[in-house]
């Protein structure tokens, strides 16, 4: 008999601040030692479900509970958050904000410190769990010295230091670069196998999680459980498409080729997938879809010439970087965290001055221009729209830059309306910003930069942490903007975004440009992939497995076909 550890029975939850229940009629049993993936689009209630398990609901976020949730047979609403935290260890999404300690060791020890455990035991336990997550070498490091992936390992160690039986990961991949995300999934897999702890992962990046083993996948949509299936069963159904979650790319390719996916094919990963039966169909599809190279005009808009930069003379952060950006390009800037991508963007915008080199915009040297003057040519959009928004209403926010420049009211109105129309926000112009979704806020920040009339926009991770629906919404918007003649540079970690939307990519590693090419070619270069912490998409592996000679061409044809299909 398997022992149930988490039992939801007719469980509903209603946040005090919300008008309708976030979760309703949840029935779900999770057994000891299982590994469960909970997926769902943004706002589906999947995070709330996690909060119910670790006790943040109802003890931190108050609200109305009906029905029952038992963990190890105990009714949670009668317990406390502290009691629950000794059974459930939680790793939250943001590796930075949840890193509490001044050093890694303290952060790991935090839970035991709070239980007033004597110091000698602290040392012992910290060493033990640090070893489990391979962080023993970094115990005295400060959060500023650690990468996002390392911080997450520290948090994981800290949450399991007191031998919890359940591990809960709330969107563990949201802030990691592709290669680091893959390692994180492998680590979670290894710890699950080594310790046998019941493991729950909440994510919307399905394909990345399926890199590891998962027993069951639970889909949440609009506060209800839509499905509770094994990976093979789920991937053979149409449920993912209906809920707007991106299925693994290799399966999309198979579907395009007219293959029927059944649990028999073992579609849960490319390793297990039986390709033989569908090989002919896939090859036939490949032959049938054409694809045309887009012609690029080589009209240089921005040029970086031998740019060097460093805070001190001895340590250079940017080393001799040169590249050209043509008018009308949609380009991605990629590389691992800390490689110098953001620094390059800041150099282009004039936030930092290069120690050597030239930046030319339409042939004119930008070095002499102030940040404000460069703002007329080049717009910079931060990752999180909340970092930029300071006004209450859309119109005022978009008008802000013009007001700072002392433009006349009449002209402001015309320009703002124009920018709002481009960004599809004209109808909402009198709305308060607080009523907007994340994607809409993003558009507000883009409009507020566009209104100053730049020909080039730089975006820092435009889709980070967004589910497929919002990803699509933001990217289609940017693509349309690009079609209207705005040149766009995106800093991104999303390999498929790069393949799907951008026509060229520049790879930065350790402050140097190591490659500049079409995205499909970059992802075919193993050295670059390794140096820059990239990850090839599963399309390459599928092409390889199905014996395609030219994998790059297969990927290109897929992207072309996919874009056309989705736009219809």
């Amino acid at each position: 008999m398997r022992k149930p550890v988490i039992e939801f029975t007719n469980f509903s939850f209603h946040y005090r601040t919300q008008s309708s229940p976030t979760l309703s009629g949840i029935n779900l049993t999770i057994y000891e030692g299982e590994k469960i993936l909970i997926i769902g689009p943004s706002g589906s209630g999947k995070s709330t479900l996690g909060h119910c398990i670790n006790g943040l609901v109802p003890f931190f976020y108050p609200g109305e509970i009906s029905g029952s949730l038992k963990i190890f047979g105990k009714e949670t609403k009668k317990e406390s958050i502290f009691k629950l935290s000794s059974m459930v260890g939680t790793v939250l999404q943001d590796p930075d904000a949840q890193f509490i300690g001044l050093t890694a060791a303290e952060d790991i020890a935090f839970k035991l410190e709070n239980q007033f455990v004597p110091q000698e035991e602290l040392f012992e336990s910290v060493n033990r769990v640090a070893d489990l997550v391979d962080m023993k070498e970094h115990l005295e490091s400060t959060p500023q010295d650690l990468s996002g992936g390392q911080k997450q390992r520290v948090t994981l160690a800290g949450s399991m230091i007191d031998d919890v039986n359940i591990l809960l990961f709330d969107e563990p991949l949201a802030n990691l670069d592709p290669a680091t995300g893959k390692i994180a999934i492998e680590l979670i897999d290894r710890i699950h196998k080594q310790t046998g702890k019941t493991t729950i992962i909440i994510e919307h990046r399905l394909e990345d999680v399926l890199h590891g083993e998962v027993d069951r996948i639970v889909i949440i949509d609009e506060g209800c459980i839509l499905a509770d299936l094994t990976p093979n069963e789920l991937l053979s159904s149409n449920l993912l498409i209906d809920t707007g979650i991106r299925e693994p790319l290799y399966l999309t390719a198979l579907r395009y080729a007219g293959c029927t996916i059944t649990p028999m094919l073992k579609p849960k990963s490319l390793k297990t997938l039986n390709i033989e039966v569908n090989k002919t169909k896939l090859h036939a599809w490949y032959e049938s879809v054409g694809y045309a190279e887009k012609k690029q005009k080589n009209d240089v808009l921005l040029e970086l010439k031998n740019i060097h930069f460093g805070y001190s003379k001895t340590k250079e952060i940017i080393k001799d970087v040169s590249f050209k950006i043509n008018k009308g390009e949609l380009l991605s800037l990629i590389g691992k965290n800390g490689a110098g991508k953001s620094t390059l963007a800041k150099l282009i915008c004039g936030f930092y001055l290069p120690t050597a080199g030239e930046i030319l915009y339409e042939g004119e040297n930008l070095i002499e221009q102030s940040i404000k003057e460069r703002g007329d040519h080049i717009g910079f959009v931060l990752q999180n729209p909340n970092q930029m928004i300071s006004q209450n209403f859309i119109f005022d926010e978009v008008a802000l830059g013009l007001k700072f420049r002392g433009v006349a009211d009449k002209e402001i109105k015309d320009k703002v309306f124009h920018a709002l129309k481009i960004c599809g926000l004209y109808e909402l112009r009198n709305w308060p910003i607080s009523a907007l979704s994340f994607g809409q806020k993003k558009r507000v920040t883009i409009a507020s930069v566009l209104v100053l009339g730049p020909k080039l926009i730089l975006l820092d991770e435009p889709t980070a942490g967004q589910d497929y629906k919002h990803y699509n919404e933001i990217m289609e918007f940017l693509w349309n903007l690009n079609q209207q003649g705005i040149t766009i540079i995106m800093i991104t970690h999303d390999m498929h975004l790069m393949l799907e939307y951008t026509n060229r990519a520049i790879v930065i590693s350790e402050g140097q440009k190591i490659r500049e090419d079409e995205p499909a070619n970059i992802l075919a270069d193993e050295d670059v992939i390794r140096l820059a912490n990239l990850k090839e998409t599963s399309l390459y592996q599928l092409a390889n497995k199905a014996d395609f000679f030219d994998q790059r061409d297969f990927v290109k044809r897929f992207i072309h076909f996919d874009r056309r299909t989705r736009q219809l």
């Binding site: 670790n54 943040l56 003890f59 931190f60 958050i81 502290f82 935290s85 000794s86 939680t90 939250l92 943001d94 949840q98 890193f99 509490i100 300690g101 001044l102 050093t103 303290e106 935090f110 839970k111 410190e113 709070n114 239980q115 007033f116 455990v117 110091q119 602290l122 040392f123 910290v126 959060p143 500023q144 800290g158 949450s159 805070y311 340590k315 915008c349 004039g350 936030f351 940040i371 404000k372 460069r374 703002g375 080049i378 717009g379 910079f380 959009v381 931060l382 999180n384 909340n386 970092q387 930029m388 928004i389 300071s390 006004q391 802000l400 830059g401 700072f404 507020s448 930069v449 100053l452």
Partner: protein, 276 residues
């Protein structure tokens, strides 16, 4: 940029070996003496002692030189301001008047005023080097543990540690927001009028405040999930047990305290008066 001003610097010295709590107690008593007494003899002895303590810590002066010079500048301005506002303070305190130089109007330089301001300066010069030394020789995490050890509630002590932890993050947020807003045309340079500058500043502060509030929510959730506040007491990973050296240091400072107080109040008031 790599070395942050006044952050902990790891080194091997008797001062570094002392626990944070011993240093904190020592520093509080030391400052109390310097604040209470106006006895020049004690202040001079403490000033010399302070320099000796500083030297024994092996902390290089250049680590604190910047802050120290700024402090000297403030001290200088402070001295001038005292003279401008209270030119006869010394005369009032020492009940005699030895004129040295008449400047203008009621501004007369007296030996008493000079002596009073000399004492005041000496007070600062005994406290400041040790305050700086305390900061660069105490590991920030041990600092929180020390506060807790001398009786401050661990919730407050940990709040201090959290502040130290998140200040660099908030600085980074501030920088990003400020730069992005400057690209939109905010001009915070000196050329701007103050009223305009304040309005501009709000477009940086508003996002910063909302962002920080979000961060605080995550932090509070994270610390509750790891049982912060569940017990009356907590242990500290970076706490160090008292050694003989710590007890010795505390005893010495208590002796110094008692001795100084006796000498200071022996003649009935806090002021050592050479003019009588």
């Amino acid at each position: 940029m790599n070395h942050k001003i006044l952050s902990y610097i790891h080194q091997e010295s008797p001062i570094h070996r002392l626990t944070g709590a011993a240093k904190l107690i020592g520093f509080i008593l030391w400052s109390l003496i310097a604040m209470i007494t106006y006895d020049t003899r004690i202040l001079v002895v403490m000033f010399i002692l302070g320099i000796m303590i500083f030297l024994s810590s092996k902390v290089e002066f250049r680590y604190i030189s910047f802050v120290f010079y700024i402090f000297l500048l403030f001290l200088f301005i402070n001295n001038i301001a005292i003279f401008l506002f209270e030119p006869m303070q010394g005369v009032e305190m020492y009940h005699t008047k030895h004129e040295i130089l008449h400047i203008i109007g009621h501004y007369t330089l007296t030996a008493e005023q000079l002596f009073y301001q000399f004492n005041l300066t000496l007070k600062y010069l005994t406290i400041i080097p040790l305050a700086l030394l305390f900061m660069v020789t105490t590991h920030p995490s041990e600092f929180a543990a020390s506060l807790n050890k001398i009786g401050v509630s661990y919730r407050i002590a940990y709040a201090v540690a959290l502040a130290l932890r998140y200040i660099p993050d908030i600085q980074r947020d501030y920088q990003n927001i400020s730069l992005a807003q400057q690209a939109r045309g905010i001009d915070l340079s000196k050329k701007q009028k103050l009223t305009k500058k304040l309005r501009y500043a709000s477009s940086i502060l508003m996002p910063l405040i909302f962002l920080s509030l979000n961060r605080i929510e995550t932090i509070s959730a994270a610390i509750e999930l790891r049982g912060f506040g569940s017990q009356k007491r907590r242990s500290w990973y970076h706490e160090r047990p008292f050694t003989k050296e710590d007890y010795l240091a505390i005893m010495l400072i208590i002796l110094l305290f008692v001795f100084s107080m006796i000498i200071t109040f022996l003649d009935g008031n806090r002021f050592y008066n050479p003019f009588r």
